[in-house]
Symmetry: C2
Subunit: 305 residues, 2 copies
């Protein structure tokens, strides 16, 4: 096992300007583990209810995700109902049913505890800390969070941030945790807490990597149609963590390439509902989009006097 991912596994009802689908496979750990396991041996830690369709479990397995950390409990699977409008920049929640996820108490299988890489998906900081504490040989930890935890459990969240290597946040979350309105200044404040990098997810604007002595920016893949943005950020973080785990000796040296790969995998996710777009991404298509991003950022020398 190279990489352990903890997060939500969900059934979603989603409506976008492009369509509406109910009871589709979703959840942060779903997107990030399918994305990561293309590049590294990945195990998922999560919980679902008795209503979780067997075909979804089979889909995770068939795509290479180790599911020995997946618990099936009495009750309902975490269910999210939401919609997107206009430019689809923000998700609007209609209903959230935590189900068995409300009692989630992650216990890692023995085989997971020695994994060198860990990705703490967007769950309660206390659960993130519990997972981190169960790992015995972790060398590199990534963390995602959201406004809910920033607002309600800021101290617990900061305790986890102090122990991780990379944090994945969107621009509003970066400003909120760093307590600065300027994004670069906010990222610098978070770096002062301990992480070596803040990776800021900017949707259509791509992603920026902030480290003490460097910044990197990769545009998103330029798509003419985004069908459903759900899972884009999780797919992104999964690809980054998976690629870094495949380059274990010096992960941080590959952070630029990993970030580009994250943008590329996320671009497939948003081209369809659930994980269908992500599953369609073959290696050739991934490589073409990587080179597309490269071509979109290269410029020549300037003659100025």
């Amino acid at each position: 096992m190279d990489l352990v991912i903890v997060g939500s596994i969900a059934l979603d009802d989603i409506k976008t300007p492009y369509g509406e689908e109910d009871n589709i496979l979703g959840g942060s750990a779903t997107y990030s583990s399918i994305s990561a396991c293309r590049f590294a041996k990945t195990g998922v830690v999560g919980v679902v209810g008795q209503d979780f369709p067997t075909q979804h479990v089979d889909l995770l397995k068939a795509n290479g995700v180790d599911i020995s950390g997946l618990g099936i409990e009495d009750g309902k699977t975490f269910h999210w109902k939401g919609y997107y409008e206009g430019d689809m920049a923000a998700a609007h929640t209609v209903d959230t049913q935590l189900g068995v996820f409300g009692e989630f108490d992650p216990v890692l299988p023995e085989a997971y505890r020695k994994a060198p890489f860990l990705f703490l998906g967007n769950i309660h900081p206390t659960l993130q800390m519990s997972v981190l504490d169960q790992m015995t040989d972790t060398r590199f930890v990534g963390l995602d969070s959201m406004n809910l935890w920033i607002d309600t459990t800021p101290d617990e969240l900061e305790q986890v941030i102090r122990r991780v290597d990379v944090v994945f946040l969107n621009d509003a979350e970066t400003r909120a945790i760093g307590k600065k309105l300027n994004l670069n200044a906010a990222a610098a404040e978070i770096l002062n807490m301990g992480p070596v990098a803040v990776i800021c997810k900017r949707g259509e604007g791509g992603a920026s990597v902030h480290m003490k002595d460097m910044r990197f920016w990769a545009p998103a893949v330029g798509l003419m149609d985004v069908y459903d943005p759900t899972g884009a950020g999780d797919t992104f973080a999964g690809a980054v963590m998976g690629y870094l785990a495949s380059r274990q000796d010096h992960p941080i040296e590959h952070l630029r390439e990993a970030t580009v790969l994250g943008n590329v995998l996320a671009s497939f996710t948003v081209e369809d509902f659930s994980v269908r777009g992500l599953l369609r991404a073959d290696t050739g298509a991934i490589r073409r989009r990587i080179e597309q991003i490269r071509a979109e950022t290269v410029f020549g020398g300037l003659e100025i006097h």
Copy 2:
């Protein structure tokens, strides 16, 4: 004369989280002409009132802007009062006094009419068309606009867009003119009207160039403090047009480099009120920021299987 710029010349009262200054030199043509004339012989077309301080006229001249197209009329100079809050992404207008700008009827000096490059700053589309019609040998035209004209004079604006080579817009304006929520799709609609490129200004997110067969993205210079964003977009467009005018034979081939230069010049403008930051930018500092952007976008090869 390489480049003619038409736009507003104003006195501004501005408040930002970093300070407050009254009666300072502003206006779209002011920022864009000072920015452009570093790279090409630039003449400005505009109007001010009798109250316009002589030292501002001297400042334009001293920095190399040709002011033979600047009219001084009986009345007051265009005056804008506004403020920025929070992340300063949006300007809030408190008061606008058009003064002599309300009767602006641009008449170009003979020496301007043969200029090969023209930048139509953000003024009424009918005035933009009038200026365009006075040019006899124009080979390359850039255009800026704003929501006011998109909402109130969409047909007149589209007539001008059909006759220009490059349009400078922010993301909301691109969506509004292209009538698509997806930015890439909206830019494609504008390209169908005639221009060879849409340059989308994204503030902190940098700028993207959209052409029929390529896209280019340059991040903004990463600043820890933005003192006053006023004039950033005008400075950007001025630098782009000025650099293209300095590469007259094949301007479009230099659009990537020009866009990077635009981001760099804009980064100096926002570091102080009025044009002070822009005036402090020396060639060495400009070159360093160009290479900073290059370093922030380079990434290596990926090993994926």
